[in-house]
């Protein structure tokens, strides 16, 4: 229930003052009115085709206990021909956290790495904070940082 505590906290007058929010703004986690108004793009795949042609690295990760935007669909838009159809460079294999526990599975493609995070939901760091931090720092700093985490 940390999302509820967060909402109560951010609406405390002394918190709003500390973070320089003026006036009578009320903070909510999500604004349903914007969600309803928003003209959503049906697919980001055309953007990937250009973005993957550069040296900018990409990590896509999936908490495997999320049904809503789940890893099955994610793997399909990365690897299948109905999606990007990226070629596999390194096949599906387990990855382990600094606690030596199985943290998920990983597959690398040309220009993109896909990892699952075992047991995590939609908000991965909320459920698997250690494995999420490790995965993130390994992505940013590389294998040496991973090894000395």
């Amino acid at each position: 229930c940390t999302d509820r505590f967060t909402q109560d906290y951010l609406n405390l007058p002394q918190v709003k003052s500390a973070i320089h929010v003026e006036g009578k703004l009320t903070w909510t986690d999500c604004n349903s009115m914007i969600a309803e108004r928003y003209n959503r793009t049906s697919s980001a795949l055309p953007k990937y085709k250009g973005n993957l042609q550069t040296n900018v690295s990409a990590l896509i990760y999936s908490g495997d206990a999320d049904a809503v935007v789940n890893f099955i669909g994610t793997e399909r838009w990365i690897g299948s021909t109905e999606g990007l159809g990226l070629k596999v460079k390194s096949k599906w294999s387990p990855w382990y956290g600094p606690d030596k526990q199985l943290a998920g599975y990983s597959q690398t493609y040309a220009g993109l790495t896909f990892k699952t995070v075992k047991g995590a939901g939609h908000m991965v760091p909320a459920i698997r904070p250690l494995h999420a931090l490790y995965m993130f720092e390994c992505f940013v700093y590389g294998q040496d940082a991973c090894d000395s985490f």
Binding site: T6, C30, M33, T41, V56, D66
Partner: protein
């Protein structure tokens, strides 16, 4: 643009003093005067050298401060509204900036005209925010930069990456992006929903076969609305536990408790 050091947060409870600086406030965008709220947390390792990382929650319409307090930021709010330190914060070795985007979300203002709520406009304003941010915090000029986020940020981020690649005027050195459970393609992501339920034993083979038979490629339209959904497909979905058992299941975390 100015940097705003966060004044002392109330109800802070911790055994150790805070060993990092953090800043929060609004940055005005020159193009239309939007006031974008951000919270910037310096790295606990080497803030003068570590990369800058932008975090975006999804929705669309959800605040990145949600990600700050429930996922990767340095503080966690407890039941009594005190805050404690998060030992797993991504600010351990990176400088973080959480942006409430688009305007109308959280403390970012104002609410826009409906026609402005689209991904081109949102990514253009996020890009403009980054230009102003590096003016307020010039130490980040030429700094390695990463974009991170989750869910509908699966759309926001590829748009923003493309914008930064085409218009390298922020002064940031874009190195990479990382997206968690990214909504990316309505058809592929939407149609995977029923496969996930079946392969995780949340619906029966009979329900699965019924949905597959009657829905074809239209499933995503039937899960989130009935606009593009045939009557047989709609009935198959509604009659299955996918929709009838939702009060007892958190689909965002199928093994988790439902918060009542």
């Amino acid at each position: 643009a100015q940097a705003h050091q966060v004044d002392e947060l109330p109800n802070y409870k911790g055994n150790n003093p805070i060993n990092f600086h953090h800043y929060a406030g609004h940055i005005d965008l020159p193009s239309n005067g939007q006031k974008m709220f951000y919270w910037h947390v310096e790295s606990q390792h080497s803030p003068e050298n570590d990369p800058l990382v932008l975090w975006l929650n999804g929705g669309p319409g959800c605040s990145s401060l949600g990600g700050f307090f429930t996922e990767i930021g340095p503080f966690v709010v407890q039941r009594d509204l005190s805050v404690k330190l998060n030992q797993y914060t991504w600010a351990r070795k990176t400088n973080l900036v959480f942006l409430e985007s688009p305007a109308g979300v959280g403390f970012s203002q104002p609410v826009l005209n409906a026609t402005d709520y689209n991904d081109e406009f949102t990514s253009d304003r996020a890009f403009e925010f980054l230009e102003q941010f590096t003016k307020a915090y010039p130490q980040f000029k030429n700094r390695d930069f990463y974009i991170t986020g989750e869910s509908y940020a699966g759309i926001y981020i590829p748009f923003l990456v493309e914008k930064m690649l085409q218009t390298p005027t922020t002064g940031l050195n874009l190195k990479g992006y990382a997206i968690g459970n990214p909504f990316t393609d309505a058809k592929i992501d939407g149609n995977a929903y029923v496969d996930y339920y079946y392969t995780h034993a949340l619906i029966s083979m009979e329900s699965y076969n019924d949905i597959v038979d009657k829905c074809s490629d239209e499933l995503s339209g039937c899960l989130f609305s009935t606009t593009n959904c045939s009557k047989p497909c709609h009935e198959a979905v509604v009659d299955s536990p996918i929709t009838s058992d939702t009060p007892y299941l958190n689909p965002y975390y199928i093994y988790g408790d439902v918060c009542v």
